[in-house]
């Protein structure tokens, strides 16, 4: 059984910078996978190596089982990439751009699929408009369509929502989710961690060219064990709850809540001590906290 993407010990160096340091992981068919990391972590370099835009110094990458160096043609046919930079050819209209892109992949008569892409991405009324006349968000949609003209089973989106308005982000995600539901494997890099948290099932984190975490999203979040309960009480915190106390903040007691079932115990202790709860809120760990912790060298 082949993987959708298989990356084996891939390294790449630019002069004194080790951009990728022996990266290995696989992405399975139909996964919605997030690749996260700060600027300069090596995400785009890794995507470039997958797409054949740059060449790894060592290691190998396979897309749907096809080696990106020795089976270039097959590997490229299986991969659709939405590059990070907003780029376009100012000479052509949206439809010309997509028809040419289809032709580069050897596909003739792609009008029906191009029309569908235009429709799905809200570009139908812009089909005959020159690329120069489009807003940044619209250009970004065309780039998504360009990555999909050859119906690739694996789609990589490198920061697709950077600088894009909320409405487009939502419609873009709805479309990408639809593609994922239809069986496409999606790899996403983003700075908006809530997007990765909401969409992706597995998350890889990179820092300085190395892979520092690779987990199922729920495992990653639960391992950080940072769930907290914030309580405003009518009296002092009972002694039995002191071991859970993390800190006091604005007159509230913040207690660690390693397990949500523990909440019932906290409340019953308070009842026994005749302390009234005036306000209660539970804070779940989010990906952002995990991310910040990992990037600062912390262990989960």
């Amino acid at each position: 059984m082949t993987h959708a993407i298989s990356i084996e010990a891939v390294s790449k160096r630019f002069a004194s910078l080790q951009a990728l340091d022996s990266i290995s992981f696989t992405v399975e068919h139909g996964e919605f996978f997030a690749l996260l990391g700060p600027n300069g972590a090596g995400k785009t370099t890794l995507i470039s190596a997958m797409a054949g835009l740059s060449r790894a110094d060592s290691g190998r990458i396979r897309i749907m089982g096809h080696d990106t160096v020795t089976q270039t043609r097959d590997a490229r046919m299986k991969l659709g990439v939405v590059p990070q930079e907003l780029v376009f050819d100012p000479f052509f209209t949206v439809r010309e751009t997509l028809t040419f892109q289809s032709g580069y992949f050897g596909i003739r008569h792609n009008d029906a699929w191009v029309d569908e892409l235009l429709y799905k991405l809200g570009l139908t009324d812009k089909a005959n408009v020159n690329m120069r006349a489009l807003s940044g968000g619209m250009k970004r949609r065309v780039m998504v369509a360009q990555a999909l003209v050859h119906r690739p089973p694996v789609i990589v989106l490198d920061e697709p929502t950077a600088g894009v308005d909320v409405e487009l982000r939502q419609s873009l995600w709805a479309f990408v989710k639809e593609l994922n539901a239809a069986g496409h494997t999606i790899v996403l890099t983003t700075h908006y961690l809530e997007e990765a948290e909401a969409l992706c099932s597995r998350i890889a984190m990179m820092k300085k060219g190395r892979l520092i975490a690779l987990e199922n999203k729920d495992t990653l979040l639960s391992r950080s064990a940072a769930r907290e309960v914030s309580l405003q009480l009518s009296g002092p915190l009972p002694a039995s709850l002191q071991p859970l106390s993390l800190r006091q903040q604005d007159g509230r007691h913040i207690l660690a809540l390693p397990d949500i079932a523990k909440l019932e115990q906290v409340l019953s202790e308070l009842r026994l001590a005749a302390v009234e709860v005036r306000e209660l809120s539970v804070h779940e760990t989010d990906l952002e906290q995990v991310f910040v912790k990992l990037m600062h060298g912390g262990q989960l």
Binding site: L53, S54, R55, R73, R76, L79, P83, G103, Y104
Partner: protein, 251 residues
Amino acid sequence: MYGFITLFKKEILRFWKVGFQTVMAPVLTALLYQLIFSHVLSQHVEAYPGVSYTAFLIPGLAMMSMAQNAFANSSSSLIQSKITGNIVFLLLPPISAPAFFGAYLLASVVRGLVVGAGVLLVTAWFGLPLPAQPLWLLAFAVLGCGVLGTLGIMAGIWADKFDQLAAFQNFLIMPLTFLSGVFYSINSLPPLWRSVSHLNPVFYMIDGFRYGFFGQADVSPWLSLAVVGGCFVALSLWVMRLIASGYKLRH
């Protein structure tokens, strides 16, 4: 194969959409050269026996315009794609190095031929005869554009900024084309400069192209064909290798 056809079509459409700049402007420039030089020099020079300077000048101007525009087509398209970043859309699909090279080359040849035809059309009334050797004419037109189109691909891939490309164009291509016998027969030059001119491949393009019109030239058309053809083959192989290696395109 379809990738090649598509890229070729795209390149044709690209220059055609800005036809005023890419076709009309060089045709007008050549017409101005023709008007001025023929006015100034027609009384004084007879380049070949029985060929007036005015008629002599036309094929040279046409070939020079073809060469410069074939170079400009591939080089400017590539550097624009590189600088704006949209070259990525050509690097992501599985377009082979020969297809990539062939499409840019052929589009350059087409642009060169269209400009050449335009120049001949607007200057013919200065007394251009019908071609004495049409096949030679066509061979030198196509090969000449091919050599410069290939050089354009090389320059477009090599240059990282417009300034470098302009340097290539102004310090190499322009002197080679201007000092190639466009405006004079090299037989009128002192021996030293005549010998130097023989080292310039553009001279052979122009001389061969002129042979196509007048049936006479400064050197044998076979020699010109060998030089121009040899340059074309050597440059093509080299540039195709550059593309296949990913030089300056894939990092």
